[in-house]
């Protein structure tokens, strides 16, 4: 099958799945709503509980889930190729730890820097992720021309531990209520209650995806080694820089929106590779669409199975993603 046809088939199938999930998810929840009333414009907005549940509570949540799921899955694909390491995740390079530290500081010290419909915690966590990106990049590019993926990996892992220690320290200093909120933030939460945070995160994520769109060929060659890629005409240093910055920026924006939702960045890329092969021109769009569908479905479970109580979505992604991934792995081998 030609690449074009394969791409069309795969994107068609995963696109249909994502679309189905995105249309279905806002119609179900812990309460039952009347869809007729939701779209009935003759009922005043303030009286229309069904419409408010749909548009205020569920739709932003589903949109955030789709955005974060797509972003983390795509960033996972890019970083695994960049690092030539199947264990790399969007959280390997310290971006999420930086974001977490920012969020912890905002919660523990009750920062009040909210602006443009976005509250303090997402803003602080985005700043934290930018700081982490700058530090890791500075370290990895100081030695030689271009990026050393080894240094990148080691710097990321070290920064992760260092930030984790700082996070624990901040948690230890804060009082019980704050401490609990910080722990809860780390489990991921998509109940964002408004569109402001989504609008704020979208430009960064879109910019990253614009870069992702031109990366796949270079990623295919990079996975074979820097020398091979250079021999085939890839400007290695430039491609690496673009891959690193786009994936990290997207991760930072996604994490500041919904917290570090675990497992998607590693499970979804591998699941998709097991299903469609390893050509990044196919894997990247497929993982993006599957990531969106996967997180929205996980969040659907999170908000319904124990209703009216809610299970943190990060717990569901790991509980479902882990065994599913192992099953697929065993079946394939």
């Amino acid at each position: 099958m030609s690449l074009r046809r394969r791409l069309l088939t795969v994107v068609g199938a995963f696109g249909a799945l994502a679309l189905l999930v995105l249309v279905w998810a806002p119609t179900v929840g812990s309460t039952s709503i009347d869809l007729g009333r939701v779209f009935d414009t003759s009922i005043p907005w303030a009286d229309n509980v069904d419409a408010q549940i749909f548009f205020v509570a569920r739709l932003p949540r589903v949109m955030a889930g789709a955005l974060i799921g797509a972003t983390l899955a795509a960033a996972g694909v890019v970083l695994q190729a960049l690092m030539r390491n199947p264990l790399a995740t969007p959280f390997t390079l310290g971006v999420s730890a930086g974001a977490a530290l920012g969020a912890m500081l905002a919660i523990a010290f009750r920062l009040d820097v909210g602006t443009l419909g976005v509250s303090s915690v997402p803003i602080a966590s985005f700043i934290g992720s930018l700081a982490a990106i700058a530090i890791v990049y500075g370290l990895a590019s100081s030695q030689r021309r271009g990026l050393s993926t080894n240094v990148l990996l080691l710097a990321g892992v070290t920064l992760n531990s260092f930030f984790s220690a700082l996070i624990l320290f901040v948690q230890y200093l804060s009082d019980f209520a704050e401490s609990f909120r910080t722990v809860r933030w780390l489990m991921g939460d998509l109940d964002i209650g408004s569109y402001g945070p989504i609008l704020a995160a979208t430009p960064f994520i879109l910019a990253a995806f614009a870069v992702f769109a031109v990366l796949p060929r270079a990623l295919n060659l990079l996975t074979m080694g820097e020398d091979v890629a250079a021999g085939r005409g890839v400007e290695v240093a430039r491609a690496q820089r673009w891959a690193f910055f786009s994936a990290s920026l997207a991760t930072g924006a996604a994490v500041s929106l919904g917290g570090p939702v675990g497992f998607i960045g590693i499970v979804v890329p591998h699941l998709v590779r097991l299903m469609v092969g390893s050509d990044h021109r196919v894997v990247l769009p497929a993982a993006t669409l599957f990531g969106a569908a996967f997180l929205v479905l996980c969040d659907l479970l999170a908000r319904t199975i124990m209703a009216p109580l809610e299970i943190p979505v990060g717990i569901i992604t790991a509980l479902i993603g882990g065994p599913f991934f192992l099953w697929l792995l065993v079946r394939q081998s």
Partner: protein
């Protein structure tokens, strides 16, 4: 006298003796790891006997000059022992600390977190244990009388369906924590004349999603901020954060109240005051 009667008489005599003994040697060096109970100690006149408090203690102002000996998760045993206490007030869950203090033969008073009724019970028990039974009885009686007065005042009045929030991200409808149907926050809300919209959820705290709040449609939203003290403008701004939930009756009728002040969520001697503030907010 039968053997049985004689035994009873001896027992009675012994208990009188031990009571007299304990009153004579009421603890003079108390360490409190529980802020709510520290407040109680000062309320019942046992303040001068307190030699150290937990790292979270802030009230009454006299505690500011006292040494700190850690808290629930990190009690500083060395420091506690070095202060030679004759009574340590601990949380029931501090099992390691219990074992260490037992080995050191230091008496303890165990605190178990409970509902509103538990507060006056604890107050009385603390009074007996520290030799201030009379003052404790008076303080407990006053709390009960004030609560009874509030109940009488709100009896017969409509009991608004209320969302009692004790944690939320500033300026956003995220990470909203509300009182479930258990614990002293719930009890306080009921005593103040409200109906908890999460009464049937048998937990102290519920993470309330926007969907859940829209579906339950509270008539009053009562936000309690005890660690995050807000100015009047900030409180107004925080109340305005609820506007997106336009169909919620509390939002429509402008019945979102943000109560702010230290000690609002402390299950201590000030509960009646807090219940009175809640009752005012609900009216």
């Amino acid at each position: 006298m039968t053997t049985r009667r004689r035994r009873l008489a001896v027992l009675a005599w012994l208990s009188v003796l031990s009571l007299a003994g304990s009153a004579a040697q009421s603890p003079q060096r108390i360490i409190s790891l529980v802020p709510a109970l520290t407040e109680m100690l000062f309320t019942i006149g046992a303040g001068p006997q307190v030699v150290a408090v937990s790292s979270y203690d802030e009230d009454p102002p006299q505690v500011k000059s006292l040494p700190r000996v850690g808290a629930l998760l990190d009690p500083d045993v060395e420091r506690i022992l070095s202060l030679k206490p004759d009574l340590v007030i601990t949380y029931a869950s501090q099992t390691d600390l219990h074992a260490q203090l037992t080995r050191a033969a230091i008496p303890m008073f165990d605190y178990r977190h409970g509902g509103l009724a538990g507060i006056v019970d604890t107050l009385r028990a603390l009074g007996v244990r520290t030799g201030h039974a009379r003052e404790a009885e008076a303080a407990a009686g006053e709390i009960e009388a004030r609560l009874a007065a509030i109940r009488a005042r709100t009896a017969g009045a409509p009991r608004p369906r209320t969302l009692l929030v004790f944690g939320r991200e500033r300026g956003a409808l995220r990470n909203i924590y509300a009182s479930g149907g258990r614990g002293f926050l719930h009890d306080m809300l009921v005593a103040a004349g409200g109906t908890n919209i999460f009464a049937e959820i048998d937990r102290e705290s519920v993470q309330a999603t926007t969907e859940l709040i829209l579906a339950r449609a509270p008539e009053v939203i009562l936000e309690v901020r005890s660690s995050d003290i807000l100015s009047r403008e900030e409180a107004e701004r925080e109340a305005a954060s609820w506007r997106p939930l336009a169909s919620v009756p509390a939002v429509r009728q402008n019945r979102v109240v943000v109560l702010t002040g230290k000690g609002l969520t402390v299950p201590g001697p000030r509960v009646a005051e807090v219940v009175a503030r809640m009752a005012d907010a609900l009216r």
